[in-house]
């Protein structure tokens, strides 16, 4: 039986992700138990919050080795918002911090004229994905809900699977092997978001 492990590391909106998966009738549990994570077929790292606190909590709960182990074994992994940013090697929010380094790159603040382009980027925005993208297959319209001030800039452009524009073009989704990340909130993006989650769940 497929089960989704939603990583509980004290960083926000696990509840929303769990509700969305329940609606999609996908068995899921919110957990920080290493064995439960190992047994799961898919892993979701949600998250609302600051980069440093996110990494500190992953470390505190001893979750980093199991995330490394499962991604190495190509278990489908989806990082959402902060969960995507933590995939990077370096985060620049509130100082320089080391990330999970699953997608080499840096998480930096929007470099825009903040008088005219209000940061954080909050709201619904258009996403353009590459044609072969797994997550965005049959998703219409590709408009998603974002709330963030920072975004991931991967070193390898091949890791970029979708972009969005807010004062500057930024990366809205990444994929490397079976590791996916989305900067927007699929669990809060109504039907389009639920479609992205369905695509992730169908990926094996």
């Amino acid at each position: 039986m497929n089960t989704v492990a939603i990583i509980d590391y004290g960083m926000g909106n696990m509840g929303s992700v769990l509700n969305a998966l329940a609606y999609l009738k996908a068995p899921a549990l919110v957990t920080r138990d290493v064995e439960e994570i190992r047994r799961a077929s898919h892993i979701i790292l949600p998250g609302v919050g600051a980069f440093e606190e996110g990494m500190r909590n992953l470390r505190k709960y001893g979750l980093i080795p199991i995330l490394e182990e499962t991604t190495k074994a190509r278990k489908p992994f989806l990082g959402i918002c902060l969960g995507m940013q933590l995939l990077a090697s370096v985060g620049e929010e509130g100082g320089i911090h080391t990330g999970l380094s699953l997608i080499p790159g840096r998480v930096r603040r929007f470099q825009v004229d903040e008088v005219n382009v209000r940061v954080p980027h909050i709201g619904w925005n258009d996403v353009s994905s590459s044609s072969d993208s797994v997550l965005f297959k049959n998703v219409s319209p590709p408009i998603f809900y974002f709330v963030h001030s920072f975004h991931l800039v991967p070193e390898d452009k091949k890791a970029v699977s979708a972009t969005c524009t807010y004062g500057e073009q930024f990366v809205a989704a990444v994929k490397k092997d079976s590791v996916f990340g989305v900067q927007f909130h699929p669990e809060k993006s109504q039907k389009s978001g639920l479609a992205v989650l369905t695509n992730f769940l169908e990926y094996a």
């Binding site: 929303s16 609302v48 709201g123 619904w124 925005n125 001030s149």
Partner: protein
């Protein structure tokens, strides 16, 4: 391109959906769950849920739990938030953003602490404003307590402390459906580079168009208009689109 949001507001008192006029005369208008369900089915951009008893009787997790179980849209929740523990509790129940109002004035450090811990994108500071002889004043405790603060300076201060968004309500226009206070919205949105959600006074689509084009609002919100008239969030968005404003249709 970023869309201008149209946001229904649910105000809740004694676990019932209520409608107010200038923050008084709260009238029970039904079940908030039913209302949340309708807005979810209508595919709204976002919803704001304010528990007016929150300050008095503390947070009510069951209220939010019922809404988040079936709503897959962004939710901002407020009412009675006084600590980072409260914020943590709301976020883990499915809120995406938490609105702080009275406590932000009484203990501004909460804004800083919350944005450090959860990121500024989930810290909304709610500012209730009353028109005075000399200008405008920030009010707290459900509009009852004057603070002596100017909304323009207070908006700057909350941005400095780490707020990510401002939910700006004109008490004078609340529930009156006579149009937003565009001057207030315009002055706040030019004094601070944060997204400003305009609230209080929406009665028709033109009000919404004007508060965006003239007031510079990043989002428009309304309670009475969506509860008491046939106007839907989608109808408002169609009119915004006609006026050349980007929306999600």
């Amino acid at each position: 391109m970023l869309k201008t949001r149209v946001i229904p507001v649910l105000t809740i008192k004694d676990l019932r959906l209520v409608k107010s006029v200038q923050f008084t005369e709260h009238r029970n208008i039904g079940s908030f769950i039913a209302a949340a369900r309708v807005f979810n089915a209508r595919d709204v951009d976002e919803m704001v849920v304010l528990d007016l008893d929150g300050r008095k009787s503390g947070l009510k997790p069951e209220l939010l739990r019922e809404i988040t179980r079936e709503c897959f849209m962004p939710l901002t929740v407020g009412g009675g938030v006084t600590s980072v523990q409260d914020i943590q509790a709301l976020l883990s129940l499915g809120a995406d953003k938490v609105s702080i109002n009275t406590e932000a004035v009484k203990n501004p450090n909460l804004i800083a602490e919350a944005s450090r811990r959860f990121g500024s994108q989930c810290v909304v500071v709610s500012i209730d404003v009353k028109k005075t002889e000399g200008g405008y004043e920030v009010m707290i405790t459900g509009g009852k307590e004057p603070t002596g603060l100017s909304p323009f300076l207070w908006a700057k201060e909350v941005k400095r402390l780490g707020a990510g968004e401002i939910f700006l309500t004109s008490i004078d226009h609340d529930g009156c459906m006579d149009g937003y206070d565009r001057e207030l919205v315009q002055k706040v949105s030019t004094s601070v580079s944060l997204p400003v959600i305009a609230c209080g006074g929406a009665g028709n689509a033109l009000d919404c168009v004007r508060v965006v084009t003239e007031g510079g609002a990043s989002a428009v919100s309304a309670a009475s208009m969506f509860q008491y008239t046939e106007i839907t969030p989608r109808a408002i968005k169609e009119q915004l689109a006609k006026a050349g404003i980007e929306v999600r249709l």
